[in-house]
Every structure is written in structure tokens, then in C-alpha cells.
Assembly symmetry: D2
Homo-oligomer: 104 residues x 4
């Protein structure tokens, strides 16, 4: 099984700039050793089951909990059986269909 | 702490109509005994911590896992310390500001 | 055609409490005269085509633009041909499947 | 002003594999000549105002409308005044804070 997750998580009580808070979460994911991709609007990661995915989200919140009163998060899941390595495959599949490389 | 969660979860390999699948998830949430609200675009529920929220999402997926090959889900979290009963309070707060009842 | 839209939109440079900003948007939608539902996590409305839906989102942003430096928004669309009045129908369809009323 | 948009849009009446439909949308965006990034869970693009952003979303739907009965879409907006080129800047800012390159 492949569980692809895209999520954004940030405090809303810390003013306009929140990249120092977001960086804590990226640091945690980077240290987890799971395949991921940072995008300008969130982080995409891939794990093998729902429990692992939810565990990462819980750890992400733990990075902000100590000093943030209000945290907002948006998460998308794409869960598919009998698939793997979709972090690369999904983009490749689009490129094959278009017959050209895309910006990525 | 109040963790407000709004989520939609549905199979994408079952054709245009998916309400029978969605109903399984609502049934589970209704039986959990937590405060919730079904909306035309998802379900909002409120729990006291992130672990409980993620646990409900895991149970939701378990309702679809047996017979769905691909499941898509979108989840929003609004996590706020020192608050409770926001399932009602957030709407009430808007109505107070507007000085009138809204459609809900 | 039925375009169901669920959206949340709020400033992230105004501190922890944003209900006065959110209220401006609800006021606009209420005055538009379209069917809608305020939920604890956003607003659901239904219009007949994509252009009308996007127009409402643009008007929503215009309520915040004058005095907000940074605005975040999450929008879900469920667009379906040959359907109407889904603001009520989708919930009813779940209740029929469950054979009971749900919290709404 | 910088309007960053991340969106996923796909038919839900076409079975488990939808990359041929998604490819139509990427083709349109690629031909628009705006800066974008394809991710495994959606497409991020940056434009200078809300009208342009909504116009792209309308064009995206037009790619699917002819032969899709039901279309689902999730869109996130991050709208910020006095900023530009955030498609690259936001990731760079995280890397500076972490003092290392991340997977992107």
C-alpha cells in the first residue's frame, strides 16, 4: 500500500511570517528518514500505511505545541493499494502522457 | 484544548455515487458519541487532543479499506488551547458580530 | 449543473482571533442571496456554474484585501452535472442510507 | 502581490486511474507560461492577483468539463502583499533556517 500525504501546518497566532515554525516540522520529517518533498505550499511524504501517516502528523503538531496557542493544518491523503514509490511515479506518469518534461 | 476537525473521505474507484461508502464513516462517528456535524461537503467533529482526532481518522479509513482500492481524503484541523465547545461557539461568535442569525 | 463549494478564508497576520474578519465574508454571502450553510470550519454554498463559484471567492477576498497583508484560504469543489439542490440532498441521502437522522 | 495556489482537480466518475485527465490540466498550465511546479499531490502556481488565479482554475475545469460528470477539486491559496517569486523563496527560506538543503 502507498499512502501519499500532502500537508501544511502553521501557527496562526504568530503574525505574518511563520517559516521558523514550519522549519521545525521539515527538520523532523527530514530526520525521520522517509521519502518526502518540500513544496512552496506544503510537504508531501509517502509511507506504507495510514498509522504511519497519522503518526507523522502527530509528531508535526508536537513541534508547534509548546509555544503556539493556535495551529491550523490542511492535509490531503491519497491512499492506494498495490502501489509504491508514487512520490516519483505520479509525476512521471503525467510526463509520459504529455510526452515532455514538466516543471517540478 | 479543542481540536476541531473537518474532513471528507471517499473512494475514487467506485464511480460517481459514493454516499453508501460515506455513510459507513458517518455511522462510525455517530456511534463514537463525540460531538459532530454532518455538512454537505464533509463532517466536522471536536475532540480534546490531537491523538483522539487522528484516531477517528484512522477508524474512518478502516470503514473503507476492506473493499476500496483507492481512497482520497481532505482534512482541516483548527487546534486551539484554552478553548472548548467550539462546534457551537464559532458560529455563535459570527452571529454576534453580524447581529443576526445565519443559515447553518 | 451543481457546484458545491466549501471554503475557509482568514488573515494570518491578525493574531489568534479572526472571527471579525470571517464575519465580513459571511455578511457578503448572506447578502448575495445564494443558498449557503455556515459550519464551524467554513462556509458551504451552492451555485449553478464554476464562474459563479469563483466570483464568490473573489468577492470573499475583496472583504479582507483592504487591511490584511496575508490571507490563507482552503477551498473544496464538488462539481456535478444533472444535479441540483445538493446542499440538502447530500445529507438526506446519508440519512436515508443510515435509516436515522444525524447531527447537522 | 503574490498569489500562490496549490490545487488538485480530478474526475471521480472515471475509475481508479485519472492521470490522463490530470495531464490535460498540466498541459494547459504549461502552455499558459506562468511559473508552476507539479508535485505528487497537485500543482503549485504563482500569479500576481486573485483574478488571474481564479481564471486558471476555471480553465482547469474546462479541460475536464466535456466528458466528466463529476469533478472534485481542492485548492489552497496563500495571498501575500509586497512579495514576489515565492515559488522559490519559500523553500529557500526554510533551507536557510535549517542550514541545509532539503528534498524538493
Amino acid at each position: 500500500m502507498s499512502v501519499l500525504v500532502e500537508f501544511a501546518m502553521f501557527p496562526t497566532d504568530k503574525g505574518e511570517s511563520v517559516s521558523s515554525y514550519v522549519s521545525r516540522i521539515i527538520k523532523m520529517i527530514d530526520e525521520e528518514g522517509i521519502p518526502y518533498k518540500l513544496t512552496p505550499m506544503g510537504t508531501v511524504f509517502e509511507v506504507e500505511n495510514m498509522e504511519d501517516a497519522l503518526n507523522i502528523l502527530n509528531k508535526a503538531y508536537k513541534q508547534l505545541e509548546p509555544d503556539c496557542n493556535r495551529v491550523y493544518s490542511v492535509v490531503k491523503f491519497d491512499i492506494r493499494k498495490n502501489k509504491s514509490n508514487r512520490l516519483k511515479q505520479k509525476i512521471k506518469s503525467v510526463e509520459e502522457k504529455l510526452g515532455k518534461e514538466v516543471q517540478k
